[in-house]
């Protein structure tokens, strides 16, 4: 597996360095979970990602391959789960890129650049004895799966709250363990928002660190809830990306210290760096 596979980390252990080239990997399996597809790929040369890190993905065939259709640029995807030599991604088909990825079959080629960005901070110093509260919305549950794996392995454990639009989407909850669920239409679990569940949890016991990923309005609600209660929160944000490795300056989000490149200084940002999680152009 070589040096790369060992995974040099920087940024306080929150970033595993990526090999500088994109890797051509092979799709092992695609599995449907309601509205979502899970893509499992062989990545023998890849280093182990930190929870919250992402990769830039592009199909080898029919992806602007030297002759420009859309999708043209690679797309960013959180690592859903990592095993030695394997990676999993969770996709929702919302446009030409996710559409193309969602039709890949076992054996098809995929370009992977990653792991990229700074993931969640889960060191003992960060938790400082508080419990980890994982809050996910929609396809934003992806990085929480690998995060739960890590917290379980370290013995810290985690409370997991997930929100979905409807029953078709809540099928994604099967990807995590011991979850509490909210759906907009009440078809599964609490009828309402996942932030209702979060408020309940924090009211019960505010000694928590919140790790959240989901659509901008959800993240903003999480940010406000936590700020009111002075609960530390780490938010995995989204923004349109062209490169994923800091080259284009296209993915900036506003923070209290000005714009930061989300692919380089994120995607996980401490909530107290933000005035708002409603970043322009993100979400669909």
């Amino acid at each position: 597996m070589g040096a790369a596979a060992e995974g040099l980390t920087t940024d306080d252990g929150r970033r595993t360095l990526a090999p500088p080239g994109r890797r051509r990997v092979t799709v092992l399996a695609r599995q449907q979970f309601g509205a979502y597809a899970v893509l499992r790929v062989a990545d023998p040369g890849g280093p182990p990602p930190r929870p919250g890190q992402f990769a830039m993905l592009a199909a080898v065939e029919r992806w602007g391959g030297g002759d420009g259709e859309r999708p043209f640029l690679p797309r960013a995807f959180s690592v859903l789960r990592a095993r030695p030599g394997e990676l999993e991604f969770l996709l929702e088909d919302v446009g030409p890129g996710t559409n193309r990825l969602a039709e890949l079959e076992p054996g098809d080629g995929l370009w992977v650049l990653g792991p990229l960005g700074i993931g969640f901070g889960v060191a003992a110093s960060e938790l400082a004895g508080r419990r980890a509260l994982l809050v996910g919305g929609g396809v934003g549950i992806a990085p929480l799966a690998i995060l739960q794996d890590e917290l379980t392995a370290s013995g810290a454990g985690a409370t997991v709250l997930l929100g979905f639009r409807d029953g078709l989407h809540s099928a994604g909850a099967a990807l995590l363990r011991e979850t509490r669920i909210a759906t907009d239409d009440g078809s599964h679990g609490h009828e309402g928002l996942v932030t209702d569940l979060l408020a309940e949890e924090l009211d019960r016991d505010p000694a928590a660190v919140v790790y959240a990923c989901g659509p901008p309005p959800m993240l903003e609600a999480v940010r406000v809830l936590c700020a009111e209660r002075e609960v530390p929160a780490q938010l995995a944000l989204e923004s349109g990306m062209a490169c994923g490795f800091g080259a284009c300056f296209g993915c900036v989000v506003p923070t209290r210290d000005g714009y930061v490149r989300l692919c380089l200084d994120g995607p996980v940002l401490d909530a107290d760096r933000l005035d708002s999680a409603l970043t322009p152009g993100a979400g669909h």
């Binding site: 500088p20 080239g21 602007g64 640029l73 490795f245 152009g281």
Partner: protein
């Protein structure tokens, strides 16, 4: 496709700078410092370019345009980045030492809103031996002044005349494609003392929000780059090559050795890779190798003369 060839087969001399091959990056499309954060020391071992061109430096720090800053096109991209950078002082303190440590020569790209500002920037780099050459961005379509200076032969000539005496380093003028007659601007820059020209910068474009129909980009309009501008770039490079004797750094939509070869045939000395690096961080090295492969098949021609019928 092309036989495996080494880019080392293509040593190139540019304004007295000896390069391992003719492929460099387009300013603002590769951040070597960021890439080192993402990739670690392995980046240096596989550094994809024969020289590194830094993102445009302005006198004062700039935040850049509000997001969203990107819009994908079939075969391309519109960006409205807006030249964020730490400003001259920040660059000298934080960036220059890191970039000077790269395994390839450094070309610094600068832009000013007045001739005085450009002069100040040029003066600041004139004595820095870390810097192999200077590129003047007179063409950024995101910033008012870029359009004005670089689109007009007289304005361009005045700018070059003003800064020419301030440095003995090679001065590259980066032309804007959003001009009536880039060849005339090129000729003016040559007459005023430029050592080389680079082209094309991005072409002004725009996108509307797919649902609301409002402007998409925070900067309203942006610059188009990528495969979709390739044919326009080739035309401008061939035109400029016919008007000046200066070496050219050609760019615009280069994705493959074949595209680089077309620009070299049209008269360029170096070829820069921009948007393609977003798709493939090592695109520069791949393109150099593909080019070396093409050269093994058919040796470099003299620049082709294009005859009007």
């Amino acid at each position: 496709m092309t036989p495996l060839a080494s880019a080392a087969d293509l040593p190139t001399s540019f304004c007295g700078i000896e390069l391992a091959h003719p492929i460099v990056n387009g300013s603002g499309t590769f951040d070597a410092i960021a890439a080192r954060r993402a990739f670690g020391p392995a980046l240096e071992e596989t550094f994809p370019f024969a020289a590194f061109v830094s993102k445009t430096v302005t006198l004062m720090p700039r935040q850049g345009n509000p997001p969203p800053r990107l819009w994908e096109l079939p075969g391309g991209l519109i960006n409205s980045i807006g030249l964020p950078n730490k400003g001259l002082a920040g660059y000298l303190t934080h960036d220059l030492p890191e970039l000077a440590a790269l395994p390839v020569p450094l070309i610094v790209n600068v832009m000013g809103f007045t001739r005085d500002e450009v002069a100040e920037l040029v003066r600041a780099f004139a004595e820095r031996e870390e810097v192999a050459a200077l590129e003047l961005n007179v063409s950024c379509p995101n910033v008012e002044t870029g359009l004005i200076m670089g689109a007009d032969p007289t304005e361009t000539a005045r700018l070059v005349e003003r800064v020419r005496p301030l440095t003995t380093k090679p001065l590259i003028v980066k032309l804007t494609p959003n001009a009536t007659d880039p060849g005339a601007v090129a000729a003016a820059a040559e007459a005023a003392g430029a050592d080389a020209l680079s082209l094309i910068n991005t072409i002004r474009g725009m996108a509307l929000h797919p649902r609301t129909g409002d402007q998409w980009l925070g900067g309203v309009t942006g610059g188009v780059s990528g495969a979709t501008v390739r044919a326009v770039a080739l035309a401008q490079v061939a035109d400029v090559a016919g008007r000046v004797r200066l070496p050219l750094v050609a760019m615009g939509g280069v994705q493959r050795g074949r595209d680089a070869d077309d620009l070299l045939r049209a008269g360029a000395t170096l070829v820069a890779v921009g948007t393609e690096s977003f798709r493939d961080p090592l695109a520069g090295a791949r393109i150099a190798a593909e080019l070396a492969g093409l050269r093994q098949e058919a040796p470099a021609p003299g620049a082709v003369a294009f005859h009007r019928p």
